[in-house]
């Protein structure tokens, strides 16, 4: 661990520097997004026929595919992000304070990407407002897709509020060192700020965090998102109460991995070894291992339930699932990563940040693969499995693959832009690392040296 003292100048560095590498990254991200926007425009012009999707049943296709798989994956990243950040604030896990804001920004980015996917996936996105909002009072009573849009909106508002409130403290204190170019933005962000509000904001943020933690299993990735699938009675690949916990575990795995990758990038770019410390990576990696273990356990439960005397439809669906090479590859990747995390827990010498980064990449790839396959699986082996053309065929088209590049570009752009506007590491975190934080009365997780 570095012995350098973290300073305000450290967290201001991203805002006040402008490097070629930054421009290169910005250009690449923008290119990815624009490329997909063009592809999407083509899709709008030609119709969804440009995708690899089709009609399940006699049609021999898959109704949903990569778009929905990536949608739930991004929502997972977002939900996991806000849960992490909330846990840091609520449970006083001060060790992770330096990455809390990155987690919140990941949530905003993930939700933006997910929201974008909703539009991309639709046959008539132009009717979103008239058809969905216009009948909201009726459809909210029974359509899981409407619940979904509702909670995503709610969490977007919640996360943005959360982020906005905590930024007021930082922006006000660091105002003199922030670029004048964005003066109007800072003015709006700190409107009516007085130092007296700090205590109040702390409380508000605590309550927001409490809301997030309580609602996560009920409404977020443990509830509404899996219900999109789990409540449908005729698709045995999806049905079942296990999907709630399963989705939640995937969300947390994806979010932790995502945050590790983003943290790694910032630490490398701005020499933040003393802020986003090795200790944080070790801790995050252990948490990743914990949720990966849960995920594999849930998978095991699902499989045993299907293959050991399952009812016909369930048995067929599960047997097909475990026999699917894509599933086997995804699970092997995830299991291998778990083994590494376990081993480096026993022998700390096996840990290094690069390996943690690779582990994160593997988990993200694994969860995305699992999500896409999960969506398609439902259509491959439905209860009404009589059609000769079922299981149908589906492979994402170039445009669908490009959407992944586009949304990653979108989230990267969000970070690149935000990092020039506001500190991505909280001032509180710096104060805490220096030991001059005011709210020392809060309980903190003991820092364990690995």
């Amino acid at each position: 661990m570095s012995t350098k003292e973290p300073t305000e100048a450290d967290i201001l560095r991203p805002i006040n520097t402008l490097t070629t590498k930054y421009f290169a990254l910005y250009g690449a991200a923008a290119l990815g997004l624009v490329a997909f926007l063009i592809a999407w425009a083509y899709q709008l012009q030609q119709g969804l026929i440009v995708t690899g999707l089709g009609d399940w049943g006699s049609g021999g296709g898959s109704t949903w595919g990569l778009y929905i798989g990536a949608f739930i994956w991004w929502v997972g990243v977002a939900h996991g992000g806000i849960i992490l950040s909330a846990a840091v604030r609520l449970l006083g896990m001060d060790r992770y304070m330096p990455v809390a804001r990155l987690a919140e920004m990941t949530t905003i980015g993930g939700l933006s990407a997910a929201g974008f996917y909703i539009l991309v996936h639709m046959g008539r996105p132009d009717r979103m407002v008239t058809s969905v909002i216009g009948h909201y009072h009726i459809t909210v009573n029974n359509s899981p897709l409407v619940w979904d849009v509702t909670v995503i909106t709610a969490y977007f508002v919640l996360s943005a509020t959360y982020l906005g409130l905590t930024l007021r403290y930082d922006v006000n204190r660091l105002r003199d060192d922030l670029p004048d170019m964005f003066e109007p933005v800072y003015k709006i962000m700190t409107i009516g700020y007085t130092e007296k509000e700090d205590q109040v904001i702390q409380r508000m943020v605590w309550w927001l965090a409490a809301a997030v933690i309580i609602m996560a299993p009920l409404l977020l990735h443990g509830g509404v998102i899996p219900w999109l699938f789990a409540l449908l009675p005729a698709m045995p690949g999806w049905t079942g109460a296990i999907q709630g916990p399963m989705f939640l575990s995937i969300a947390l795995m994806s979010a932790i991995s995502g945050i590790m990758i983003i943290s790694y990038a910032f630490r490398r770019a701005y020499d933040w070894d003393h802020i986003i410390t090795d200790d944080i990576f070790r801790g995050l990696l252990l948490w990743l291992g914990f949720f990966t273990l849960l995920f594999l356990w849930f998978q095991l439960q699902t499989i045993i339930n299907g293959v050991f005397l399952g009812p016909t439809n369930k048995a067929i669906a599960i047997e097909a699932k475990i026999g699917h090479p894509v599933y086997q590859v995804a699970m092997t990747m995830i299991f291998g990563t778990l083994v590494y995390i376990f081993l480096q827990g026993i022998r700390p010498a096996l840990f290094n940040k690069k390996r943690a980064l690779i582990a994160s990449g593997i988990i993200l790839t694994g969860t995305l693969t699992e999500k896409i396959l999960f969506v398609v699986e439902g259509f491959l082996h439905p209860t009404f499995d009589i059609y000769a053309n079922t299981p149908g065929t589906y492979f994402p088209s170039a445009i669908e693959w490009l959407s992944l590049v586009g949304t990653v570009g979108l989230v990267a752009l969000l970070f690149l832009n935000l990092s020039k506007l506001v500190p991505v590491v909280e001032l509180h975190a710096i104060e805490h690392l220096r030991g001059d934080h005011e709210h020392s009365e809060e309980a903190t997780e003991p820092e364990v040296e690995a």
């Binding site: 690899g52 089709g54 049609g59 009675p233 259509f379 000769a388």
Partner: protein, 554 residues
């Protein structure tokens, strides 16, 4: 839904009271608000024109608000200018297209009604009659749908289906469907207990048309949309585009509202939905307008014929026929039913005991015999008409001579003891129910024809005599014996509904063998390609996929 609830608003009394309270809290006149809202609903139903609506409350609104900027102002002014024309002319005058106007009006009135505190929702909810006064009483419990309500549906005789796929082509034609969009889908199948012969050789070679036949050696499944009473597709729809019509229980898609999320297709256990992935091959201008609109309590919605790009479609059970826009004679029929050569598909109001699906479901053996003897394609087995009988028979003929004489009437058709026996058995078992005149009750009508023929024969031959009954193998002529005779001839089918345990309450009932959970589709007697249909739509869709990888699939 109940008609006891006398609120004018589709969401009922309670909602109305709530809104009235909200109006009371404002400084404006609540009575005026409620009156206007009520009239606004009438406009959406087409009972009142926009201009009339505007005029009716114009003075009161001016008095209360000092201005009248309701969305109907335009219509009112147009009406003032063209005071000489009829109402429809006036509406046409500012919109150009009279038919579009009513839908437009509906939208505007939605805004208009909302402006006074009540949303006039274009939903398919019940729209009971006016009186506001009744709103004072306690809220009446809505009662369950009474069995006399219209519910279109089908009874499909799978043993009668010979897999000719005529219904599929008829549906495709009627609705201008794209290749592979098989709203009606017919398949042969087999499972552990039920084999199907090698298919694809055409009807003659595959062993179809064995006497009564019941189609062929194949196990068939005919799969239109089930028009479920508890439709999962409707439940999950985020827009109400997928909806059940109150008046007749059809589950339809409003093509103007659907956002193309495809959740209905995901939730449907039967796989009956087909998305319009690209521009349909038949242009909108080539569609018959009477075939695109459905009649609704609150105006017209586009629910029939092929879907436009980006929205979901499925079997509609021909709502424009049921609404009478294709002529009264087509009410109570569907394109597939009309086309089905052996009469395997019986469409109608499944709640009406006189309807074809009801008769076929409740009296399968007798109805089968009736269909068999009166079906046009099986003219070789048809029951003779009373006139023919009169011309052929003479007083004192015995059963054998009578059969011979009738048989001699035509070279094309034969008449056997079996046929006469079946006719007499139908006569014994008939409840004498008359066909209704509001829809197409072909089974009862044909039964009446058979009864008339039996009556005609009995004028010459005593079919009730012991010898006659013996010759016809009808035992003592009891109902029991008659039933037994029919069973021998037409079989005694079991009935089922598809995936009953999922709780969708489908409105299609099948007669015949239910496919087991591991049943698999096999080649049928006629291949879709032979009749110009595409079976696997993905083959068509894959042609337009951008950068798809051939032969690779998840």
């Amino acid at each position: 839904m109940s008609t006891d609830d006398e609120s004018f608003h589709p969401l009922g009394d309670e909602w109305e009271d709530e809104l009235e309270t909200m109006l009371d809290d404002t400084e404006y006149d609540s009575d005026l608000g409620m009156e206007m809202a009520q009239d606004a609903m009438r406009v959406t139903k087409g009972e009142l024109s926009e201009a009339e609506f505007h005029e009716r409350h114009h003075e009161a609104v001016m008095e209360e608000f000092g201005e009248d900027e309701r969305p109907t102002k335009e219509a009112y002014e147009a009406a003032q200018e063209e005071a000489s024309g009829t109402v429809s002319n006036m509406l046409g005058a500012f919109d150009g297209d009279g038919d579009e106007t009513r839908r437009e009006t509906m939208k505007k009135m939605g805004v208009g009604a909302a402006a006074v505190g009540l949303g006039a929702f274009g939903t398919a909810s019940d729209g009971p009659e006016e009186s506001l006064a009744a709103g004072d009483g306690p809220r009446q419990e809505t009662t369950e749908e009474s069995p006399t309500d219209t519910q279109w549906g089908m009874t499909i005789d799978l043993e009668r289906c010979d897999g000719c796929l005529t219904c599929m082509t008829a549906c495709t034609q009627e609705n201008s469907l794209d290749d592979g969009v098989n709203w009606m889908y017919v398949m042969a199948w087999e499972d552990e207990n039920n084999d199907s012969p090698e298919g694809g050789n055409g009807l003659s070679e595959s062993g179809a048309y064995t006497d009564f036949n019941m189609g062929s050696e194949f196990n068939m499944l005919v799969r239109p949309c089930q028009h479920c009473t508890d439709a999962p597709c409707e439940k999950v729809c985020p827009t109400t585009a997928r909806h059940t019509r109150d008046k007749d229980g059809l589950v339809l898609t409003d093509y103007d509202v659907c956002i193309g999320c495809r959740y209905c297709q995901v939730a449907c256990p039967y796989g009956v939905n087909y998305f319009q992935w690209d521009e349909p091959s038949t242009d909108y201008s080539d569609l018959d307008e009477s075939h695109t609109m459905g009649d609704y309590e609150y105006g017209e919605r586009w629910v029939d014929s092929r879907a436009p790009r980006g929205v979901m479609s499925k079997c509609t059970m021909c709502p424009s026929r049921q609404d009478g826009t294709q002529g009264e004679e087509k009410v109570g029929t569907s394109a597939c039913e009309d086309a089905c050569p052996p009469g395997a598909i019986q469409f109608g109001n499944v709640n009406d005991e006189k309807s074809d699906p009801y008769q076929h479901r409740e009296h399968p053996t007798k109805s089968r015999a009736v269909v068999h003897l009166t079906n046009s394609i099986e003219s070789s087995k048809s029951a003779p008409s009373p006139d023919d009988i009169d011309s052929a028979l003479s007083e004192g003929d015995d059963v054998e001579t009578a059969i011979e004489k009738i048989d001699g009437l035509s070279d094309n058709s034969s008449f056997t003891e079996d046929q006469l026996a079946i006719m007499k058995a139908i006569d014994i078992l008939s409840e004498g129910l008359e066909p209704g005149d509001e829809e197409n009750n072909s089974i009862l009508r044909n039964e009446q024809n058979i009864l008339a023929s039996v009556e005609a024969i009995q004028q010459y031959v005593d079919l009730e005599s012991d010898e006659a009954l013996e010759a016809l193998q009808l035992g003592d002529g009891s109902e029991q014996e008659a039933k037994f005779r029919l069973h021998q001839y037409t079989g005694k089918p079991s009935s089922f509904q598809l995936l009953e345990d999922i709780g969708t309450n489908p409105n299609v009932t099948y007669l015949g063998q239910e496919p087991g959970p591991e049943a698999q589709q096999v080649d049928g007697p006629t291949s879709p390609e032979d009749v110009g249909l595409v079976d696997e739509r993905q083959e068509v869709l894959d042609n337009e996929t951008v950068g798809g990888v051939d032969g690779v699939s998840l």
